[in-house]
């Protein structure tokens, strides 16, 4: 086929995949890139807001005897900070990155279930509003990021603070489940011809494992919070010991989710790292098979870990020790992975651009965090350190170093693809060094504070404790990091217009997303790529092998077999629709209503049913496209 003929075909495809302009297009779009972009922007906005909250806490703790916050305000602050960071930032941002990247890495035009992706975002937004609108009205959950009964039960927590926390979880978890189902189906059924499982980029492996883990882990926390709400709302007795209930049931369910949660955040980060290390080392990743096996074993271990609470420990030693036990078992597979990355960099021709700097920052920080984890995992030390600042230090080393640094690496790496513009390298490096240094100055002293006995979750302390100096250093470090974060944001905003034009493949990447234009057009690719290796863009021939033949009249994606990616059939791909938004609103009304009356579950399900019927209403093929 002639190039000219291909171009005219592409023009027709482009017309089918384009959204309507304006607000209507915004509300109805099922373009995975637009949905993911708003997902990512929302999570980053919350990262900033919850970060400012943390800065506020650090100011409060910078000197002994400060009176800026009282105990109640401080409780609210760390509950809001922790809940936001875990449920509204870390988990959703990884899913959002997957929604954006997975179809592009697969050479596809959309996710498997485009409307489900839209629904996922709107529900997630509902979760954000669920936590932050009441906060604006001064009804803030105040029991930390896990709210144990009996403290959170009807007796000790009247009012709606605990309900709000519980329903925020429901919103975000349903959103996360919807996204995970979509990611799994897309990775298994929408791979391009030739991309067998053994040729799949590691990022896709990482997202596959993460999404499966999400699907198995999240029902537990939803059950825990639903039972809590039932106890509070309709007087069930699941957690009341004097009526045959048991408060530990909540903890078991919560940690059945809580253990895997850390890996659900961390494994996508592993995917980012592998992609970036490969590109910037300019050689195929060392130890691909080892990496895949390590990913899978981390996934399995994550659930195995919870069992040690049930059998080995007898009584659950939960909460703080969870992070440490997690880092113990993770040590072997993660150690292998770190070895593979270092071997790749060492044997390649590395280019130390900002994304790779973030990765190196990750490795340093994560190894330090891992060491402190191994320390606390020894029993006598653990008793000493549980619920001290040692734990605060450790969990931030793991979460910030292990997930946020790779995320920043990913954002700087794929920014040119998403926007068509390069970030400023110079300012990128400045922000990296400020955040990296500030973070370590800010959080390393907390290890020592923990050893000195400073407990976590206290709103102030007294002069004689001698904790003042180190706390001042810690707060100073956080200020430095904040300056770096501001530069990072400014860099991203200015580069949107002012950055150098990126072109399709500014870094010389190895995977398919670098083959489409930057930013990718609504239909992503002109034709279906055919893949012949693990690094399809590092090929001998100049021209990309493609297959044509998807419909030029309606939206279609290619469905292939899960193992060998053999083409099976052409699947109609649903177009823009308002129903996902309406369904999310109906679901939201049901969730919010059920805080106040159990009848919301009955009456609220009617609009949900109506919206879902509208969503799935079959349209004769000729009505498509618009």
């Amino acid at each position: 086929m002639q190039q000219a003929e291909l171009a005219s075909e592409e023009a027709r495809v482009a017309a089918i995949w384009r959204d309507k302009p304006g607000l209507w297009g915004f509300l109805t779009t099922v373009d995975h890139k637009r949905i993911a972009a708003r997902y990512i922007v929302t999570t980053l906005a919350l990262l900033i807001v919850a970060g400012i909250l943390a800065l506020d806490m650090r100011l409060q703790l910078s000197q002994p005897g400060m009176e800026r916050m009282g105990p109640q305000r401080y409780n609210e602050a760390f509950s809001l900070h922790g809940s936001t960071m875990l449920f509204l930032v870390s988990v959703p941002v990884m899913e959002a990155m997957a929604l954006w990247l997975v179809p592009l890495m697969l050479g596809q035009r959309n996710m498997a279930y485009p409307r489900l992706a839209a629904y996922s975002y709107w529900l997630y937004l509902g979760g954000v509003l669920m936590l932050w609108v009441p906060h604006a009205l001064d009804v803030t959950p105040d029991l930390g990021w896990f709210e144990y009964p009996p403290l959170s039960g009807p007796t000790y927590s009247p009012g709606h603070r605990a309900d709000i926390w519980a329903q925020m979880i429901t919103f975000t978890e349903v959103a996360a489940l919807a996204a995970s189902v979509n990611v799994v189906a897309t990775i298994l059924k929408l791979r391009p011809p030739g991309m067998t499982l053994a040729r799949m980029p590691l990022f896709l492996w990482a997202m596959l494992v993460t999404s499966l883990m999400t699907m198995l882990a999240l029902p537990a926390v939803m059950l825990a919070t639903s039972l809590l709400i039932a106890d509070r709302l309709v007087g069930t007795q699941f957690f009341s010991p004097n009526a045959g209930g048991d408060v530990l049931l909540f903890q078991h369910l919560f940690w059945f989710f809580g253990h895997p949660e850390v890996y659900i955040i961390f494994i996508p980060a592993v995917g980012f790292i592998s992609a970036i290390v490969e590109t910037f080392s300019r050689r195929p990743l060392f130890g691909y098979t080892v990496q895949v096996l390590a990913l899978i074993s981390i996934g399995l271990l994550a659930f195995g870990l919870w069992v040690h609470h049930m059998f080995a420990v007898g009584l659950p030693r939960l909460g703080a020790s969870f992070y440490t036990a997690a880092s113990m078992a993770i040590a072997l597979p993660v150690g292998l992975q770190i070895f593979c990355w270092i071997a790749t960099i060492g044997s390649g021709r590395p280019r130390y651009d900002t994304p790779l700097l973030w990765i190196i920052g990750f490795i340093v920080t994560f190894v330090l965090g891992g060491l402190s984890g191994v320390m606390t995992a020894s029993a006598p030390l653990d008793l000493q350190l549980t619920d001290t600042y040692f734990v605060v230090a450790h969990l931030h080393y793991v979460l910030v170093g292990g997930a946020m640094f790779p995320l920043f690496a990913a954002l700087t790496y794929w920014y040119p693809k998403a926007t068509g513009r390069m970030l400023s390298e110079w300012w990128g490096k400045v922000s990296f060094w400020l955040i990296f240094a500030g973070f370590n100055i800010g959080f390393f002293p907390m290890h020592i504070l923990g050893l000195m006995g400073m407990p976590r979750r206290i709103y102030t302390y007294e002069e004689w404790t001698g904790w003042g100096t180190l706390n001042l250093v810690a707060s100073g470090g956080v200020l430095i990091a904040s300056a770096g974060a501001s530069i990072l944001v400014a860099n991203a905003l200015f580069s949107l217009r002012g950055g150098r034009r990126a072109g399709a493949d500014p870094w010389g990447g190895s995977t398919l997303e670098w083959d489409c234009a930057s930013p990718p057009p609504p239909h992503n690719f002109p034709a279906t790529p055919v893949v012949e290796s693990r690094t399809p863009l590092w090929r001998q021939e100049h021209a990309q092998a493609v297959m044509t033949g998807l419909s030029l009249k309606r939206r279609e994606v290619l469905i292939t077999s899960p193992g060998e990616a053999v083409p099976e059939y052409r699947q109609y791909s649903p177009g823009p629709s308002i129903w996902p938004l309406l369904s999310a609103i109906a679901t939201g009304i049901l969730f919010v209503g059920s805080i106040f009356t159990p009848w919301a579950l009955v009456w609220g399900s009617i609009p949900v049913a109506v919206a879902l019927i509208g969503w799935f209403w079959p349209r004769p093929v000729k009505e498509e496209p618009r």
Binding site: E10, T236, F238
Partner: protein, 219 residues
């Protein structure tokens, strides 16, 4: 039109021409069975919900093992009769369900319409029997943790039952519209798969709700 641009690296002028190696146009535009994309969605949701069922079951076993009586003394276990009636009817519906699935695979529209109408009707009857079951559990959810758990299991299964019956009814109505699409047959087959799930999950729940209190016994 900017969207029609080739994936060429315009900034650097680097050109990536395409090399057409085949065409997908001869592939079918829908299939029925395991290759169908929507089956994977149904299976994924069954996996999530199956996990939910398993966790509820685990919670029931956990609470029952606390040694505070299952049921607590003075409470009678749920009446067997309606539970047995429901189970028998449900198992019978599964035979019908498999028949409907075969009609869907055969693209036999008349047979499929009949089957879907029947299964909807059976579903409505099942919901009626379920209501009777709920009236004879012999415990309120607020009485004690035992009661809460029994109701949890029943509500969980009932919500799936109602959802699937409603879904079947809607799909049946669509089958009577003038224009039938090929994907409605695979959709009906997906629905049959989900009915399998509703039937299969009932069996352990039936055991937990009706038989465990009888065999585990009081404290």
């Amino acid at each position: 039109m900017s969207e029609s641009s080739q994936p060429h690296d315009q900034a650097s002028g680097k050109l990536r021409p395409l090399r057409v190696v085949g065409s997908l146009s001869s592939l079918p535009d829908n299939v029925i069975g395991a290759a169908n994309l929507n089956v994977w969605g149904v299976v994924a949701f069954m996996m999530i919900e199956g996990m939910g069922f398993a966790l509820c079951g685990a919670a029931a076993l956990y609470l029952a093992s606390q040694g505070k009586g299952w049921p607590p003394s003075g409470t009678a276990p749920p009446d067997l009769s309606f539970g047995i009636a429901f189970t028998i009817l449900l198992l019978a519906s599964e035979v019908l369900n498999r028949w409907v699935d075969r009609k869907a695979w055969a693209h036999d529209l008349a047979g499929l319409r009949l089957g879907m109408v029947l299964i909807t009707a059976v579903g409505v009857v099942l919901i009626g029997v379920r209501a009777l079951e709920l009236m004879h559990l012999n415990v309120r959810w607020s009485d004690n943790a035992y009661g809460s758990t029994i109701w949890l299991l029943m509500v969980l299964h009932t919500s799936h039952l109602i959802t699937d019956v409603a879904d079947t009814a809607v799909q049946t109505e669509w089958l009577f519209r003038k224009e039938i699409e090929d994907k409605q047959f695979s959709g009906a087959s997906d629905n049959c798969l989900y009915w399998d799930f509703v039937v299969l999950t009932w069996l352990p729940i039936w055991g937990l709700v009706y038989w465990m209190p009888r065999f585990w016994g009081g404290s």
